[in-house]
Symmetry: C2
């Protein structure tokens, strides 16, 4: 369904050592993780209006909501119970033990704190089509590509603690409509993400021992960076300058007419 | 994999007549077809640089290349030989009878006429991730949704003859790097698209006789308009103002370094 992605290691003669592979994966993040996107700088530096922060939180909800679907898709492809026991914790983290618990519920605290009605957010009518296409591409990727690539695509979590620390500090300092409580989602992720990333990185380093598979896992992480970047591109294009939201997308106040 | 799309007819008590359904489908095009996108106006009015036209042609190639894959996916789901006999012509039109023939080859005439190396275009390395996500979303849609919705998603062809006439006249008049020969793709589509659209519209009008299915086919056409619109959004965002191409995307001259 997709043409061949960029293969940064094309021409490399011998497989990388596990440490070299880790360095190559970290280099993808250093060049392409979405902390480099202008929208993130604006968000952290307090340069966005409340409506622009709403647009971000609304669209990002769709990503959050699909993460356990993505992880269940990966879980269904794992044949080792020991590996599944570890991976299933991701689904628990996002879905919680009961109503009101878990990462998705915590994201809804953020959107509710921003004044977006819960039903409007959950229905997803106002999100940018580009958000949906990018997030769905991620779910399709982990279903269709070899398992080691699916696991590797989760490795953006290696880079998330830094961005989360920046984000929480910057948003609390700069926006009076943001509180520590509405940012509870990120607090949890500071411990969950490194634990998940450590396991996935170890898995990838053990499984990717040939040049071909190493190229494929690096391409998988690049693809995932594209998924995150495209979401910020769409937000920036629709809500920053020039404002050009596509038809049917959320604009300030549309949630009240919905 | 997707949340429920907007259902413009929600609350309608009785099914529409076939003519009313056609009118509702045409109304989707009047409101959301990509001829309304600023990028198209710039393209037709000769306001784009040669590099901006190259970016459009390069990205749109991926869409063109996936159209026969999309149509083969639909063909594989049709159980009536009479219907398949009609639908298969779409694949012939795009793939041709031999090397150098067909819609994809004609699109490559355009990109070659614009000075983009054929291999660079066909490999697809420089296209925007958002292009890939949107086009792949279209292919996944016709695989995963009911057949009548898959057929309905093709109905943007009802609106294409107008845009093609505008585009060919506008581009020939305004760009000295565009010739009638490089636009050969569109010449053919002026007769192919209405023939295809007539058949698909008739199919949808016969099959969509309940409120639920009528809402679903209108949503399918809306989805397809989103697919086209998102591609122009991404181009506009990356190559018009402000210039912000995502990492790895084509920039003028990148094809020479590739």
């Amino acid at each position: 369904m997709t043409l061949a992605p960029n293969l940064p290691l094309a021409g490399t003669p011998a497989p990388l050592s596990p440490d070299q592979l880790e360095a190559a994966l970290r280099d993808v993040g250093a060049r392409r993780y979405h902390n480099l996107h202008p929208f993130h700088r604006l968000l952290h530096d307090g340069k966005l209006s409340a409506d622009q922060v709403r647009a971000w939180a609304l669209n990002r909800y769709y990503y959050q909501a699909m993460i356990p679907v993505k992880d269940a898709t990966i879980l269904a492809r794992m044949d080792d119970p020991a590996v599944r026991r570890v991976w299933r914790q991701r689904i628990v983290d996002h879905d919680g033990e009961q109503e009101g618990d878990g990462g998705i519920a915590r994201w809804l605290k953020l959107t509710e704190g921003l004044g977006l009605p819960r039903d409007y957010v959950v229905q997803g009518h106002g999100i940018l089509p580009a958000t949906r296409f990018a997030v769905d591409a991620y779910v399709h990727f982990v279903r269709d590509r070899p398992l080691v690539e699916a696991v590797a695509s989760s490795l953006t979590e290696m880079f998330s603690p830094n961005i989360i620390s920046e984000r929480v500090a910057g948003m609390l300092a700069n926006y009076d409509f943001i509180s520590k409580e509405t940012l509870a989602y990120f607090e949890k992720r500071l411990t969950q993400a490194p634990r998940d990333a450590d396991f996935a990185l170890d898995y990838v380093k053990r499984a990717a021992t040939t040049v071909e598979v190493q190229q494929a896992v690096i391409a998988a992480l690049t693809f995932k960076c594209d998924v995150l970047w495209a979401q910020l591109d769409a937000l920036h294009h629709a809500y920053v300058v020039p404002c050009l939201p596509p038809p049917g997308a959320w604009t300030p106040g549309a949630e009240r007419a919905a």
